[in-house]
Amino acid sequence: MQNLIFLADGEPAEGGHAPENPLGFVPVEAALSLVVFGLLLFLIWKFVAPRFEQTFAERTQAIEGGIAAAESKQAEADARLAELEKQLADARHEAARIREEAREQGAAIVAEMRETAQAESARIVEHGKAQIEAERQQAVTSLRAEVGTLATGLAGRIVGESLEDEARQSRVVERFLAEIEADSATTNSSGSVN
């Protein structure tokens, strides 16, 4: 081979045939070039390009499929998230409602209690007043009786006259009290005269 190259370079000059025009047209070479190129083109067209293109298409599809799958997953996750957030909001709303209700109920209970307590206290006060009045009345009555007894006793002793008798005693007391009243009335009038 090496020999050939150098021979090829040297031989024509030594051989001395007419120099070839390098731009000249050599039909055999042109035809061979066309045929070889055409064959290669056919083979590439038939066996290489379709497979590469198919692979490229498949690869693109695989990538796009992956992206689509990821997108659907993402959408699903978004939906779940939205749902959960909605549930959470509902729960919060529910809790707020219950709290509000409880507060209202509490307020109502307090108001009711207060009302009851007031009624009770009013009742107790009323009862107390009635009792006091009754006791006072009782005291007045018993006091009047006792004062009468004491006074009669005392007067009886002083005048020596027994006033043991009930009727007389009562009469004397009445008279006495009437006198006192009249006396106080005259004193008042004399006082006013004087």
Binding site: F6, D9, P12, G24, L40, I44, W45, V48, A49, T55
Partner: protein, 265 residues
Amino acid sequence: MFGITMAESGGEFVAPGPNSFDFSEVPLFHIGGLAVTKPMVQLLLGAVIVFVFFYAAARRATLVPSRIQFAGESAYGMVRNSIGRDIIGSHDFIKFVPYLVTVFFFILINNAFATIPFIQFPTFSRASMAYALAALSWIIYNAVGIKKHGFLGYLKLQSVPSGVSPAMYPLLVPLEFFSNILVRPVTLALRLFANMFAGHLLLILFSTGGLFLLEYGGIGYVAGPLAWVLAIAISFLELLVQFLQAYVFTLLNAMYISGALADEH
């Protein structure tokens, strides 16, 4: 070896020239009456390499690529996306992708033969082979345009520039027709051919020249190795040119197709 023989036989340095690209006198073998030369074999070898690589990559294509599949997909995807889709547009590009991929890698590997050891000859420095590809490109983009716009519609699209006052038409229409229909395939072929041809010529010149200088002695002991260093530097530059020419050829193909499909010039 060759340099030595030259120096010994004549003592004169014979500069490499167009003859260095002429293999017709030294065919590798014959098929029938046809002499098969080295560039012809390279052309076939290039096609085989491209196909084997891509077939191995695409044979068991899976969603998660293997190493070879990833390499094949990256190579295919580079032409598909950065040339096909970006230039032609996402609407129509897909049916031109096999063509663009084939053009790019077929030219790339055949250019790379200029650097690959023991081959070391850029296939497309044979002008006729570049002509063929340019002619095919011309047929394809014109056919695409005619199919879409009709014959007259396509001629109008390619020849009548929009946004120019009709007064300029007599000047512009022939010019546009000339540049878009006639010149394109020629420049396409010549650009590829001339780059490969010139690069290889330069490499031969520096390599054989360096050897000759060493044989010559004297200052040649300095100049010869220097020439070889330059040859190595040029080889690296050539690697870039090889890639660039394959890329430009494919890119222009895509642009021509895109222009033929365009709604307005």
